[in-house]
């Protein structure tokens, strides 16, 4: 029972982690708390339905297409909305993403309707037995994807030119610019990455929850809380935070009743901010507005 709760908690947590990573990456490069992060994923899930149902595409053909569209959406948002106000304070940036949230939300509701839809691809309901703990295949596949993306990101940030440039912009945008790093392009890339991660979060979550304009709202909040665990700066911190939230809320749901499940994240953030406002690992950069 305990093992099972922890395992499915990790599975939920891995979707939160994808969102949390995107929140952290965007925040540390652009000072923007991206409220539209969840909705990028929501749009991706709807596009997934569209590609599979209308164009009869295979799941594995649909996935890269959706990821590309979602990245394009991220880039578009940066280019049209965020760049003109890039030098403003964080509240302006934050409310601008809120505007994007409204637009995407309204557009999805307008095009695809308000009611929930089932995702056409579902995974085998037959649970898999891992060391005595049962877990659904969907969850297992999600964990696999999330882990794979984590590894890809690790190598991207560690070894590729763009990844290193991205970290340089994080540390000091002005110096990075003086060193000849195309900061604007990197910011564009950051938003592209947000779209990339959101696409996976949306498509991976879609078979588990129903697809609707509101599907990602809760995930987004959990992603934020997880990002705060990493001090809004550290990706590993955010991942650990996300997994912790996933496990904690599953345990709370299992042992205290499902009412407590959604409240767990808030309790965790209160405890965290009371005792370690700088995040789990004490990384404290860009704390000021």
């Amino acid at each position: 029972m305990l093992g099972q709760q922890i395992l499915s908690g990790l599975a939920t947590g891995s979707v939160y982690a994808l969102t949390a990573i995107a929140v952290v990456v965007v925040f540390r490069n652009t000072r923007t708390i991206n409220l539209a992060q969840g909705d990028f994923g929501m749009i991706a899930a709807f596009l997934g339905i569209l590609f599979i149902k209308e164009f009869d595409l295979n799941y594995y053909v649909m996935l890269p297409l959706v990821v590309l569209c979602s990245m394009a959406l991220g880039v578009l948002v940066e280019r049209i909305v965020m760049r003109p106000i890039a030098d403003s304070d964080w509240l302006t940036l934050f409310t601008a993403t809120l505007g994007v949230y409204y637009i995407l939300h309204g557009a999805a509701g307008w095009i695809w309707g308000r009611d929930t839809k089932a995702f056409p691809v579902t995974f085998d309901a037959e649970p898999v037995d891992i060391f005595g703990a049962l877990i659904s295949q969907g969850h297992l596949i999600n964990m696999g994807w999330a882990a794979a993306i984590g590894i890809v990101l690790f190598f991207f940030f560690k070894y590729t030119k763009q990844g290193i440039a991205m970290r340089a912009v994080t540390d000091d945008p002005e110096t990075a610019l003086l060193m000849g790093i195309p900061v604007r392009f990197i910011v564009l890339l950051t938003w592209g990455m947000a779209g990339f991660l959101a696409a996976f979060a949306g498509v991976l979550l879609a078979p588990i929850v129903y697809v609707s304009p509101e599907m990602m709202d809760e995930v987004l909040i959990k992603g934020y809380v997880a990002a705060v665990f990493g001090g809004l700066y550290s990706i590993p911190g955010a991942i650990i935070g996300a997994l912790m939230i996933g496990v904690a809320e599953n345990l709370a749901g299992g042992y205290l009743g499902s009412h407590f499940k959604t409240a767990t994240a808030f309790v965790m953030i209160v405890v965290l901010l009371t005792f370690r406002p700088q995040g789990l690992f004490g990384i404290q950069k860009r704390r000021e507005i």
């Binding site: 601008a96 409204y102 557009a107 901010l273």
Partner: protein, 372 residues
């Protein structure tokens, strides 16, 4: 060195023929009178509105709804405009106010005045507790923390049996003391609360507390070095803001005599209030008013096209941020301010004074004396 170059530049600018301090004082007093006249005019319009021929109950009801939003927006405006803090979770306080009053009305049959006071105090108290935790953080962290708070309140309201979740709590018709009031009566209650809240914020901004808020907003370090207790004053600001929003919540619940988690469990409700402040502009009296009208009337006018209203809201929000970052109120007020600035300049304000005034700082004094 810098001061001297400043002085040199000012020397080349056209000098006012005569420095007349009393003219400037007179002008400023006149502007102040004009401001008050404007406010009183608005108030008179608002008071007279339900008495106009042809105005029916439901119209008063709609305007009262706008007024309630304006009150809530003023709650956030106190925070954003005067302390520079941002809360994304004020919907939580709205819910706390609404439920406190609703439960009191349901079980103790209290009237709306007691509801307003207790709902406001409850929200203020919880705001105080939250302030102790969140106000040590800044900016982005606080936004996420408060968003989490709104989410938490939504969950509690949805799941704790006392609040009756989506079933909701139906309230008896509204009473002030012992008299039952209808839509128009309720309109006047809301208007009174709005007037009191506005007066309160006006007085607060001009008090030592308000000055401490603004000092903290402009430079945290300088303010703290001058002996302003950061945590204390920010907690005060947060509590006041929660108190005002809580009262808006009470009104919001009583106006329809029914509250449910359908409305108060929705975290985006919180965000809507922030939108009102950002679109209208904070730190200006008219800001929350314009913002409140925008947020309420937009979905109201596009009732059939809820999704389109969403899109339009997003587009307007982004356009305002790009082209009028200080809010619509600031843009509308610009001609008046320009005209006043011109009048002041004509009277010599902003030109160089013939002798260093008392307010001139010590650092600036040498450059004044060095002038040939």
């Amino acid at each position: 060195m810098e001061q001297r170059t400043d002085a040199d530049i000012q020397d080349q600018s056209p000098q006012p023929t005569k420095w007349d301090r009393s003219a400037i004082v007179r002008l400023k007093a006149r502007f102040e009178r004009q401001n008050w006249a404007g406010v009183l005019f608005l108030l008179a319009c608002a008071v007279a509105f339900p008495m106009l021929p042809g105005v029916e109950g439901w119209q008063a009801y709609t305007v009262a709804l706008v007024i309630i939003y304006i009150i809530a927006a003023q709650g956030i405006s106190v925070l954003v405009g005067f302390t520079g803090l941002v809360s994304v979770g004020h919907g939580g306080f709205l819910a706390i106010g609404a439920y406190t009053s609703a439960l009191l009305t349901k079980y103790f049959e209290t009237d709306i005045i007691i509801g307003l006071i207790s709902g406001g105090l409850m929200a203020g108290f919880i705001g105080f507790l939250l302030g102790l935790i969140f106000l040590r953080l800044s900016g982005a962290f606080m936004a996420i923390g408060t968003l989490g708070f709104a989410f938490f309140v939504g969950t509690v309201v949805n799941n704790v049996p006392l609040f009756e979740g989506r079933e909701g709590i139906s309230l008896p018709s509204n009473k002030v003391m012992f008299w039952e009031i209808g839509d128009i009566g309720f309109y006047y209650v809301s208007l009174t609360v709005l007037a009191l809240v506005t007066l309160f914020s006006y007085c607060m901004v001009r008090s030592s507390v308000g000055r401490a808020f603004m000092a903290l907003r402009d430079s945290e370090k300088a303010a703290e070095a001058s002996g302003v207790n950061r945590v204390l004053y920010r907690t005060i600001a947060f509590s006041i803001s929660a108190f005002i929003t809580g009262m808006a919540g009470v009104l919001n619940g009583h106006i329809v005599n029914y509250i449910s988690s359908e409305v108060y469990g929705d975290i985006w409700y919180s965000v809507d209030i922030l939108v009102a402040v950002v679109v209208g502009g904070s730190a200006v009296l008219m800001g929350p008013i314009i913002g409140g009208i925008f947020v309420v009337m937009l979905p109201f006018m596009l009732e059939e096209l809820a999704d389109f209203a969403f899109i339009l809201k997003g587009v307007v929000l982004i356009l305002v941020l790009i082209f009028a970052p200080a809010g619509i109120a600031e843009v509308l007020g610009r001609p008046i301010r320009n005209m006043r600035a011109r009048l002041l300049r004509q009277a010599g304000y902003g030109g160089r004074e013939p002798a260093p005034a008392e307010t001139t700082s010590v650092a600036a004094a040498p450059s004044q004396t060095e002038k040939p």
